[in-house]
């Protein structure tokens, strides 16, 4: 973190890593990479490297947490101590506890929870390396992992951030843009239902800027949704080939 006021957008209108304002970072997704989990996914988005795993549906432990009419989703978002510049203590921070909650609430609307009463699923998210917008990449990966686990879902959940730096509205903030920029808006979307399941913001935006930022983030979600589908297809086409 530097104190000097770096320009986040250069004269050509390009960002620190050479992206255009409305450009996503390179994204790589892999599905079904952990053998013990029912479903799993790995995502790289820029320098973000995040693993998501889904266990269940299984009997709820402790039992008093089980619900008679639906399943319970538990979610843990956790950052590895080496995932950031200065070592992060492995015990969950207040930020991680809040993010675990909002990520869970971004995934719940898509799951047919009433199909599995008295059970629970665990969604574990490990951030191995963080470079801004990790909650969005985590949601993107977790929803793919849930699909891989065969959890009945209405839709995938695709997430992307948008924000404002140097008076420009930009897509998919990386760490420096998040820290030095003037607003950050993470959004998660169920693309076929037009349902926004995560919306947060910090920074300062006028009503018009906010509207623009949200619609840019939603465009990003649609692009990421296409990649999620592709990643799932790639996985299951290869499974089919092995069986044949």
């Amino acid at each position: 973190m530097s104190q000097k006021t770096e320009k986040l957008i250069d004269k050509k209108g390009l960002r620190l890593d050479g992206r255009k304002p409305d450009e996503l970072r390179p994204i790589k997704m892999e599905v079904g990479i952990l053998s013990n989990a029912e479903g799993s996914a790995y995502i790289e988005q820029g320098k973000n490297k995040i693993l998501a795993a889904v266990f269940g549906p299984k009997e709820m432990h402790p039992k008093h947490l089980a619900l008679p009419d639906r399943m319970v989703i538990r979610c843990r978002y956790h950052m590895a101590p080496f995932s950031v510049q200065e070592r992060k203590s492995p015990s969950p921070s207040r930020r991680e506890i809040e993010l675990s909650k909002v990520i869970r609430e971004s995934l719940e609307p898509t799951v047919f929870m009433e199909y599995y009463p008295r059970t629970g699923i665990d969604v574990f998210i490990e951030v191995l390396q963080a470079d801004g917008s990790t909650r969005c990449a985590s949601i993107t990966a977790a929803s793919v992992a849930m699909a891989d686990a065969g959890i009945p879902m209405r839709d995938l959940v695709a997430a992307c951030s948008a924000g404002k730096v140097d008076d420009t509205i930009i897509l998919d903030l990386m760490d420096a843009e998040d820290k030095l920029g003037s607003a950050d808006v993470p959004v998660a979307l169920m693309p076929n239902h037009n349902a926004v399941t995560l919306l947060q913001m910090d920074g300062i935006l006028t009503a018009e800027e906010f509207e623009k930022t949200v619609s840019l983030a939603l465009e990003g979600c649609q692009k990421i949704y296409a990649m999620q589908k592709e990643a799932l297809k790639t996985r299951y086409v290869s499974v089919k080939e092995v069986e044949e």
């Binding site: 930020r95 909650k101 909002v102 926004v196 910090d202 920074g203 300062i204 935006l205 009503a207």
Partner: protein, 263 residues
């Protein structure tokens, strides 16, 4: 954060709201009566108690000397904590803060921090070494819904009421002097929370409405009508149109509520 109400009651609430009515007679965009009292805890540097209908929140602020964060050496430090005190509801348990109280504290914190409500540079005593640290402790005393708006309002009211100790630097040591100056405040952010019930947006949900809601959306608005923090909660979703409608209504409501704050 829920206690049990009957399905009949849940249905009544949802059906009334579908018709644009509420069981307590309010319109969908009406707040309950808001009462603000400031300076009621003498030992605290600042304090305020908010009554939002039957919801009651007390906020006390304390100021101590401390060190700045390395990335902001010229700025004082703001720390917000929230306690869901067990006497406020049968669903609040003693013990370390759970995800609900952490989320509440972080929403209140974000509204104040992101709106730059406090001129934190004026809290710097010696750059990189000594600054004032402001502790904002949110104490929920009675839970009847919409803790977010009540807590955010109480926190801002308490900050407006906060006095900073005078100090002098003698032989490199910071010494507190008698007398106080008001905390340097720039903005009065107001947080407006919407509950989505029967596909309608309802403002200031009370406890039983919160148990029927699909999701909630909180927006902090500064004095200029800018949005400075947002948090969606609950296991439902919002459409884009609902979000834009909420942003518009939040601006109107925040202006109304801000008038009640003495500054």
């Amino acid at each position: 954060m829920s206690s049990v109400i009957t399905r009949v009651k849940q249905k009544q609430i949802a059906q009334a709201i579908a018709k644009g009515k509420r069981l307590d007679g309010r319109d969908l965009a009406d707040y309950r009566e808001i009462k603000i009292e400031q300076g009621i805890i003498e030992r605290a540097e600042g304090s305020a108690r908010i009554l939002l209908g039957k919801t009651e929140v007390l906020v006390g602020t304390k100021i101590e000397l401390g060190e700045p964060f390395p990335d902001t050496p010229n700025e004082g430090v703001l720390t917000v904590n929230a306690e869901l005190v067990p006497l406020a509801s049968s669903t609040f348990e003693p013990g370390p803060p759970d995800e609900n109280s952490i989320e509440l504290a972080r929403i209140v914190d974000r509204g104040i921090r992101e709106s730059k409500a406090i001129d934190t540079e004026k809290l710097c005593i010696e750059p990189g070494k000594k600054v004032f640290v402001i502790f904002v402790d949110v104490y929920v005393l009675n839970h009847d819904g919409n803790l977010i708006d009540a807590s955010a309002l109480a926190a801002v009211a308490a900050l407006l009421n906060t006095k900073m100790p005078n100090y002098e630097i003698k032989e490199g040591e910071v010494k507190l002097k008698p007398g106080y100056t008001p905390l340097p405040m720039r903005k009065r952010p107001i947080t407006v929370t919407f509950a989505k019930i029967s596909d309608k947006l309802v403002v200031d949900a009370w406890l039983e409405e919160e148990q029927v809601m699909d999701a909630r959306l909180s927006m902090a608005i500064d004095d200029d009508g800018n949005i400075c923090a947002i948090q969606k909660g609950g296991s439902g979703y919002f459409t884009v149109q609902e979000i834009l409608d909420a942003a518009k209504m939040a601006r109107e409501k925040s202006e109304e509520i801000r008038k009640k704050l003495k500054w």
